[in-house]
Symmetry: C2
Subunit: 220 residues, 2 copies
C-alpha cells in the first residue's frame, strides 16, 4: 500500500484523520469478527419484511434504468456478475426459490428438502433481454409473489413451521422470509461494489477512503 493510503487509514482508524474520513469507518466494531458481533435488534416481523421486499424493485429501477451500460453491464472480471446479471438472478429467485420453498414448508414440512437453484435457467432467462425488460419482469414477479404471500394469511404460530434445506438442514418459515429480504440487501451490497469497481482507478488517491472499493465480497 502506498504511504499516503496507509497513513490515512491509520489516522482514520484512530479518529485522527480529517473528520469526513470517519464516515467510512465503524469505530467500535471495525476489527471484530462477524460471529462475535452483538445480535441484530429486530425480531422477525412480517410487515417489516414485506415493506423491504416491496421496495427493492422500485429501488433497482430508480438506480439502474437510466444508467449507461458502462455501469450496468460491467462486472469485476471473469465469472463475476454485472448489475444486469444480478437482476437476472433476482428474477430466478422469484420464480424458483422463495415462494416455492414457503409453500413446501407449509405443505411438506421437514419431509421433503427444497429443490436446488437452477443457474442455467437464469442465463437462458436473461439472454437477449434488455435491462429495463428484466427490471420490469422482476417487479412483476415480486408483486405477484407478495400478493401470494399475503393470501397465505400467515399467523405468528406459522413462523416457526419447519422445512428442510438441502445443505443447512432444518430451517423455519420466518428464517426463509427474513432471508428473502436480506438476500435483496446482499445483492444491493454486491451491486454497489460492482459499480464502484469500475472507477477504482479514476478516483485516484481517494480510493483509500472509499470503503466500497475495499470490499472483497465476504465469500470467505
Amino acid at each position: 500500500m502506498q504511504q499516503w493510503a496507509a497513513s490515512a487509514l491509520r489516522a482514520a482508524k484512530y479518529g485522527k484523520g480529517p473528520d469526513w474520513v470517519a464516515c467510512i469507518v465503524r469505530p467500535a466494531q471495525a476489527s471484530i469478527p462477524a460471529r462475535t458481533l452483538p445480535r441484530g435488534n429486530m425480531g422477525f416481523d412480517l410487515e417489516d419484511t414485506i415493506a423491504l421486499l416491496s421496495s427493492t424493485p422500485r429501488s433497482l429501477h430508480a438506480l439502474l434504468r437510466d444508467l449507461p451500460q458502462a455501469w450496468t453491464h460491467a462486472n469485476e472480471g471473469p465469472k463475476t456478475w454485472s448489475p444486469f446479471d444480478i437482476v437476472g438472478h433476482l428474477i430466478q429467485g422469484e420464480r424458483t426459490d422463495w415462494m416455492p420453498r414457503a409453500r413446501m414448508i407449509l405443505e411438506h414440512g421437514e419431509n421433503r428438502a427444497f429443490d436446488p437453484f437452477d443457474r442455467l435457467a437464469q442465463e437462458r432467462e436473461s439472454h437477449g433481454k434488455s435491462l429495463p425488460e428484466l427490471l420490469d419482469q422482476f417487479a412483476q414477479l415480486r408483486s405477484e409473489n407478495l400478493h401470494a404471500l399475503r393470501a397465505m394469511k400467515l399467523q405468528p404460530e406459522d413462523f416457526d413451521r419447519r422445512g428442510r434445506h438441502p445443505a443447512l438442514g432444518i430451517v423455519t418459515l420466518s428464517q426463509l422470509l427474513a432471508t428473502w429480504a436480506i438476500h435483496d440487501l446482499t445483492h444491493l451490497h454486491q451491486l454497489s461494489r460492482v459499480m464502484g469497481y469500475q472507477y477504482r482507478e479514476a478516483v485516484g488517491p481517494w480510493s483509500a477512503y472509499l470503503g466500497v472499493l475495499h470490499c472483497q465480497g465476504h465469500g470467505s
Copy 2:
C-alpha cells in the same frame, strides 16, 4: 463458526456448494488483496459520472421512503450510522464538499487546501427532521449541484486540473468528480449492510450464505 457454516462456505469457495451459494462468492478474486486487483475498466467520463450522481437521490427515495423506522432509524451499535444518518451525511456533502472543492480547484489550483468537513453541521441539519424531508432536501441539493456542474462547461483538458487535499495531497478535478459518485456507492453499500444487520439473527442458519452479513465496513 458452526460446522455447517464453515463447510458451506468452504464448499462455495471451491465451487462445490449448492449452485445458488455461488452468487455470494466472487470465485476468482475472493482472496486477492484489494491493492493487487486489476484496474477497473472505465476511464473517467463526465456524462457517466453525472448519470450515476443523478440516480442516487431517486434510488434512496424509492428504497427508504415507505420503510418502517425499524429499518431506517436503526444502526449497528454506538457511534454507527442509521440510514437516516447516512442521508444527512450525503446532504452535508452536497453543501460543503463536492462542488465547493471543484470550484476551489478551478479558482485556486494547488495553492489552497480544501476545507475540512464539519460533522456537527450534519447533526444540526438532521435534527428534528423526518426522513422524507431529508430525502427531498438531498434530491434538491444534488439537482442544483449537477446543474451548476453542467454550467461549468468543463472540457477534457479541465479534468487534469489540480487541487490540494489536506491529507491526500495533490488530486485532480476528475478524481474529485469520480469520488463524488463512488462516495454515493460507498454509502449505498453501507446502507445495505446496516439494514441487513437488523435481521442477522432472524435469518438463522442462512447467515452463512448472505455476504452482506459478513461485511465489517472495510474501514481498516
